[in-house]
Amino acid sequence: MTYKRVSGDALEYEVFARKTRLEPLHQVGSVVAPDDDLAMAYARATYDEERWCEMAIVRKEHVIELWQPGEA
């Protein structure tokens, strides 16, 4: 059996985290995965080197852009 580099349909996820309750979540990176479960596992494995008190992922396609660079 052969495997594609990313199994299934690859989705992009943005990864957000914060170290303390006082600071807001900020983007720390992104991962590519075929589903939410694998994206959670990848985000935790990739960005767990710091002691985050919270981490969350969002599908990039679910982000609603108001404008892009150069459009404002």
């Binding site: 059996m1 199994s7 991962v31 589903d35 479960d37 694998l38 596992a41 990848y42 935790r44 494995a45």
Partner: protein
Amino acid sequence: MSFSDLVLSIADNKQMLGLRYAEWATRAPSLEADIAAAAMGLDDLGHSRVLYGCLEPLGSDPRGRDRESDPASLRALPYFDQPWTEWAQFVAANAILDTAFTAMIEACVGGSVDVLQQRLRKMLMEERYHFLHGRSWLKSGIDTGPRDEAWREAIEWFGPPDGETAAFHRDGRLSMGPAELLARIEERLGVRAPSVSVEWKAWDPIRRRGRAGAIDETTFAMLRGLEEKRFAQSSAAAKEA
């Protein structure tokens, strides 16, 4: 078989699982999967250290001197005897065997032994991400050979229905026995295990496996630090030259 023997079996299997995971840190199908393999390997090696540290508080450490010379003295499953050559082997171990070890740790945390209740709880949080990784890849489909072998070895590792694991469940040291442990991993993975016929008379209750064998020589030498010494000698000779 004592309760310490069971804990040592969990530790040895987690150590070998961690090492085999780490071997795939540059061979997985995606960069993210590479990183996950490395991270899960580190997790499981760390878990094995915690488990080894529980042996003394449990009152007896079953590790003998033969662990320095005999690879068959290690209590890992046949699945870990040789490095994996296929990604499907990684996925089956990740989804089925890692989940089986986690179920046993859950049974320890839910049981009556204080030191295990206290020290093993954090592992369950880390294992959540191993489970998500394994289940997702398992759903994507793998060859049946590694999958069925992983199920067989998980069932063998839980032990016979009337064996010591069942006795530990009855006396409260484990919150689950073999039947409950199997049901637990079936429920978590959302699939039924294939029908497996185990010849329990040929089963080794200490190593918790149904057939003889041992880990490969290179891995055994690495565990004892011999590989490190070999490279240390060559670098010292290079400096003299």
